[in-house]
Every structure is written in structure tokens, then in C-alpha cells.
């Protein structure tokens, strides 16, 4: 059980490594979006910094995760279908996507800080709460990409289906980011962090529960 899960996870990394272009594309996407924001804003007011940050995360994340099922060729789908337990597959995808989004999270923070400066007063807390929110992002986007992959107009559906569902997570994470920006006492955000964790647990549980139904074709 555990063994096939780690094998799948390793497989995800291998696949990504073989398609370095795609990974590079996503990372470049982040850098160029940040650059556009920097060129258009020049001086970014602190509140707008948070907004830009999460808008970039939203779009980069959606693009990064979108390919997790869409890039699968029909042949590989069939191979997975006959050899792999769907629960393990989705768990591996979920974990992999979370790690990928965490990378994007760090990269965005780094590039944005270098180019436009960093007004956040409590940066470790900002990164930590952001990372917690990203687990929810990953859960929602993984399931939605599996849904969109089956339909005809994939890329539109990916955005249309995931954005409204992402908003609860986004609202909570932005609230926590603002606390970190103002350097408020961390205890102020515990309630929001609790809600965020609860939503994450719900999203991940429902995604794991529903995925096997998507899988049987």
C-alpha cells in the first residue's frame, strides 16, 4: 500500500523531470507575471502587495495543477487504470501538487520581494499560513483538473469550476496574510487558521472520496 504510493509519488517527480519544459514554463509564468505587476505598479502599496501576491498564486497555481491530469495521454490513462488504485493515485497527485504549489509560493515571495520590495512584517508567519492555505488550493485544483480533463473545453472549465470554490480558502488566507503584513500578534489569526484547517480537511477528504467515481470510465 505504502510502497505503491511512494512509487507513484516518485513517478510524478520523474514525469515532471522528463518534461522540464512544462515546469520551467510555470516558473517563468510566475516571474513574468511578477514582472508585469512590477512594471505596471512601480510602487506597490502594502495592501495591493497581498492582493497581487494571491492573484499571482491563484493563476500560477491553476495553470500548474491543470496539467496534472490533462497532460496524461489516453494510453497512460489506460495503464494507470488497470494497474493503480485510484485513491493512491489521487493522494500522490495531491501531495505532488502541494509540493509544486509550495515551490511556486516560495518563488513568488522571493521574486516579488526582490523586484517590488517586501512590506510584510512577519514573513515566517506569512509563508506558513500561506503554505497551509495552499493545501486547500491543491485539494480543490487537483479534483477540478480531474473533472475538467473529461470535458471538452478544458482550460475554460478549469478556471470557471475552480475559482468560485477556491474563494473561501482565498478569503481566509488573505485575512491571515494581512495580519502578517501588519505584524499583528499571531494569536489574532488562530481562529481564521482553525477555519482554514477545517476547510482544508473537508476539501481534501471530499476530493479523496469523490475521485474514485471520476476514475471508473
Amino acid at each position: 500500500m505504502m510502497q505503491s504510493f511512494t512509487a507513484l509519488l516518485r513517478h510524478e517527480f520523474l514525469l515532471e523531470w522528463r518534461q522540464r519544459n512544462a515546469l520551467g514554463g510555470i516558473l517563468l509564468y510566475v516571474v513574468s507575471t511578477v514582472f508585469v505587476a512590477y512594471i505596471t505598479f512601480k510602487v506597490v502599496p502594502p495592501l495591493a502587495w497581498i492582493a497581487i501576491y494571491w492573484v499571482i498564486m491563484l493563476f500560477a497555481g491553476t495553470n500548474a495543477v491543470a496539467k496534472s491530469f490533462m497532460q496524461l495521454s489516453p494510453g497512460r490513462m489506460l495503464y494507470y487504470y488497470s494497474t493503480v488504485n485510484p485513491l493512491q493515485l489521487v493522494a500522490a497527485k495531491l501531495l505532488y501538487n502541494t509540493l509544486l504549489l509550495w515551490t511556486i509560493h516560495l518563488l513568488t515571495a522571493l521574486v516579488l520581494s526582490v523586484l517590488v520590495g517586501n512590506p510584510v512584517q512577519d514573513m515566517p508567519w506569512f509563508l506558513f499560513t500561506g503554505a497551509v492555505g495552499i493545501i486547500g488550493f491543491s485539494g480543490i485544483l487537483t479534483l477540478v483538473s480531474a473533472i475538467a480533463q473529461k470535458a471538452s473545453n478544458q482550460s475554460t472549465l478549469m478556471a470557471v469550476l475552480s475559482f468560485p470554490v477556491l474563494i473561501p480558502v482565498l478569503v481566509l488566507v488573505i485575512k491571515l496574510s494581512k495580519n502578517a503584513l501588519d505584524g499583528l500578534d499571531r494569536a489574532v489569526g488562530y481562529e481564521s487558521l482553525g477555519s482554514l484547517l477545517a476547510i482544508n480537511a473537508l476539501v481534501v477528504a471530499v476530493a479523496l472520496l469523490l475521485f474514485p467515481y471520476l476514475w471508473k470510465d
Partner: protein, 220 residues
């Protein structure tokens, strides 16, 4: 769907009762709210009805996932559509009320925002349904999204508005249900209104299910 007639008669009766006593009955005089308090009989039942009808839609989707049958899918589809209609009506009645009590059609209130998001989610569900050619696949995949969306809607509607301040009755020290319910005359109209409008919604959904089922039979 329920094939009995009693609930249709009950729905019509309760709505007529609501319309008459809702518009003609006595209401408490409150500052700012004044006569607009009557919106309680029309706006709030839309949200109660929406949640119940969308819940029924999610329920039918779960039933479809457990035991695939086109009837479950058709029911999920028609209840979701009625749910969207109710949410749009709830939004419209809320906006008219907000214009006269808060002074703006749209003031970015947490409740307004969350309900707008709920509408977006279910419109996305309808778009998703439209993007499949194969019936079985459409039924299965949209059922998955329907259940997922409903699971995400619950925290959205009930947890998030409570995190921030809101002008909406029931939030941040504004009089809510508790205060209205103190008035027994209003309670006598409000509860029947909720039941009446919700039953009407289920009736509409059952009509739509029957039309769709007949259309499917005609195709075969």
C-alpha cells in the same frame, strides 16, 4: 419525485396565505426597517429554499454515484436549476431591500459576496453539464462536481460571513431572527412562508424532471 397532490395544494395555500398576511398583516414598527421588514417573508425563504433545494440536488447526485440511473441525474439537474433560480430571486429581493435600508444596491456585504459566489458555483455546474456529449459521462462527472460544490458551499454560507463584520440582520449586533421572532405575529407568517416557497421549488423541479424524462424517452 413526490407524485402526490397534497403538497402542491399545500404550497399554493401557504403562498396565498403568505402573500395576503405578508402584505396586509400587522408588522412591528422598527426604525430604518419600517415596512421593509416584510421582506422577511419573501427574501429569507428564498435562501432557506435554495439551501434545501441545492441540498436535494447534492443528495440526488450522491444517489447517482451510488447507483447510476438517469432519473437521479435528471433530478439533480432540475433541482440545481431551481436552486439557481431561487438564489437569483434571493439576491434580487435582498438587493431591493438593501437599496432602501442600507442605501446601496450592492455594498460588498459578506452575505452578498458569499451568495454571489454560490451563484457562480452553480452556474459553473450548469456550464460543466453543457460540455459533455456523452450522457453517462455527463451524469457521473457533474454529479462529482455537484457534491464537491455543495460541500464547499456549506462553509462558504455559514462560516465566512461570521468572520467579518456585516450589516446584515443577524450579524455584528444587528437585530436578527431572534429579535424578529420575538414577535409572534411575524413568526406565524414566516414559517409557513418558508415551507410554502420551498414546496413550490420542489414542485417546479418535479415538473422539470418530468418534462426532461419525457424528452429522453422521445429520443430513444
Amino acid at each position: 419525485m413526490i407524485k402526490k397532490h397534497w403538497y402542491k395544494i399545500l404550497a399554493v395555500g401557504l403562498i396565498l396565505y403568505t402573500l395576503w398576511f405578508g402584505l396586509m398583516g400587522d408588522v412591528p414598527r422598527k426604525v430604518v426597517l419600517n415596512e421593509s421588514i416584510r421582506n422577511l417573508y419573501f427574501h429569507v425563504p428564498m435562501w432557506f429554499g435554495m439551501i434545501l433545494i441545492l441540498g436535494a440536488s447534492a443528495f440526488h447526485s450522491i444517489r447517482y454515484l451510488i447507483k447510476p440511473s438517469m432519473l437521479h441525474d435528471t433530478k439533480a439537474d432540475s433541482t440545481a436549476k431551481v436552486g439557481v433560480l431561487f438564489s437569483l430571486l434571493g439576491m434580487a429581493t435582498g438587493m431591493v431591500w438593501a437599496q432602501f435600508t442600507w442605501g446601496a444596491w450592492w455594498s460588498g456585504d459578506p452575505k452578498q459576496n458569499t451568495s454571489a459566489i454560490a451563484i457562480l458555483i452553480y452556474l459553473a455546474y450548469l456550464v460543466l453539464r453543457g460540455s459533455f456529449n456523452e450522457e453517462q459521462q455527463r451524469a457521473r462527472i457533474s454529479a462529482v462536481y455537484n457534491v464537491f460544490a455543495f460541500a464547499c458551499l456549506i462553509p462558504l454560507l455559514f462560516i465566512l460571513p461570521r468572520l467579518t463584520d456585516s450589516l446584515h440582520p443577524g450579524n455584528g449586533g444587528n437585530p436578527g431572527f431572534g429579535a424578529y421572532d420575538l414577535d409572534n405575529r411575524m413568526r406565524l407568517v414566516f414559517y409557513p412562508a418558508v415551507i410554502g416557497w420551498t414546496l413550490l421549488g420542489f414542485w417546479m423541479a418535479s415538473l422539470r424532471t418530468r418534462i426532461l424524462t419525457l424528452q429522453q424517452k422521445e429520443h430513444e
